[in-house]
């Protein structure tokens, strides 16, 4: 092997390492740049399209699901007889388990003043089954709705719930546009 060839090979490796390093630096800078403009995307549920099929509870790769019931207090009626909280036909309007609609007891009911009650969701217990949402939409103002919670969501590229969503309500939106609310009454 001649000196000329040796030099060439050395030069070649040098250049390659330089280029690889330059590539990683560029990727890093681009990522920081995009993050500064909040250009990453996140999965969201469009509440106007949600058909409350129950698949958010069963199809998510996480257990319990990253989809949770969210309460829009702006349009809540603070009803005594909340159909998102009570079983239809509940004999007594008390917090007893047999009167509650939620299968995991994730809704807390607190008296504000007679006859107004506040309903809050315990997201650690909520499985995103949408049973309460159906009741609230049918009889009430529709203040309960499902949404993807991004403190839990893995933001999978091919979301397993989106693949089977019966209402095509799963959409990927820029993070800055995330957390759709349901309709304003």
């Amino acid at each position: 092997m001649t000196d000329k060839e040796k030099n060439n090979r050395r030069e070649f490796f040098k250049n390659m390492v330089r280029k690889i390093l330059l590539f990683f630096v560029a990727v890093f800078c681009l990522e920081r740049f995009l993050k500064s403009f909040n250009c990453s995307y996140a999965w969201q549920i469009d509440p106007t399209k949600c058909v409350k099929c129950g698949r958010c509870a069963s199809e998510c790769v996480l257990n319990p699901s990253a989809v949770k019931c969210v309460h829009n207090f702006e349009i809540c009626g603070y009803c005594n007889l909340c159909f998102g909280y009570f079983q239809p036909g509940a004999k007594n309007l008390t917090e007893a388990v047999e009167n509650q609609l939620c299968p995991t007891n994730a809704i807390k009911r607190t008296l504000v003043e007679d006859p107004f009650f506040e309903y809050t969701i315990d997201e650690n217990l909520c499985i995103g089954c949408a049973k309460c949402i159906d009741g609230c939409n049918l009889f009430g103002n529709g203040s309960l709705y499902l949404q993807v919670r991004h403190d839990r969501c893995q933001n999978c590229n091919d979301c397993s719930i989106a693949r089977v969503c019966a209402g095509d309500a799963f959409v990927k939106v820029p993070v800055k546009k995330a957390y759709f609310k349901n309709r304003v009454f």
Binding site: G54, Y78, F83, G89, D134, L138, F139, G140, R163, V164
Partner: protein, 317 residues
Amino acid sequence: MFSRRTFIKSCCMGSLSFLFGCKKKQNPPGENPYKYDIGQFRKIDKELILYKEKPSIAVDAEQIRGLAISNDDYLFVIADKKVFIYDSFKNLHHNFSVDETATCLAVGDSKKIYIGVKDHIEIFNQKGEQIDKRAVLSENAQITAIAVNKEHVAVADYGNKQLWLFNKEGKLLRFMGNKRYSEDKQGFVLPSPFFDVDFDKNGDLWANNTGRLRLEQFSIEGVLKSTWGRPSMDIAGFPGCCNPIHFAILPNGDFVTAQKGIILIKLYDHTGRFKGIVAGEDLFQKGATDLKLEVDSQGDIYVIDSIKKRIRVFTLK
């Protein structure tokens, strides 16, 4: 070396497997284990249906907002920015336009038309000429219903959650039902903007306290005289967070109520005892929520069908 045939075969196979691989996996439409099932409460006994439907009245407008019936059974409908007047045979007599979008209307003596426009009342004659424009009730006012008898005009105000009582000249006599000012601190509980008012034949005021799922009777002096109605999923009670959404008083003193959730038009006697059903959910399309209703001197019941853009008419079987 690959032959051309092998190459094309491989390309086809590759494309097909790519296409099938990309196809979305769809779960079979199985039973939802979390289904909110109220099927048993939707069933109604056919023998309870006391009314039959008559031909409905078409309204040439996008959004019907209110209706009223005069003593001689003329029907007045407000839709979009127009008032439609139908004669006693329910043929369109004439119509006229108003400047603002109305929320409700009522008809008084000599067919004076009282139109509720968000926070104030405008009065028109039959020809469509404005006779009077009353002052704004208050900053938060949201008028949802007006009732007129020989001496008084009552206004249901969802914004302030109270009834306003005026004399015919427009002088405020009192307001009633506001929780902040009522002695018993009860007041109207209105989770959603459905608030109706009507006079009975004795001159007392009736209003729907939807959050308490009952109707309330007030004297002209503002005293709560009686209530009836109870929360229940059974046919005689009112289900949901806020029902009945609208009501009317028949000439014999019976009440007709409209409820949302499980859509039902029901008939109660003057004490609030359930008598039967006027119309069930099967007669209305999903989404028909604002079921404002009125009754004529014959006891026929007129209901707004906002989806079909018609006035549905029901008469005793």
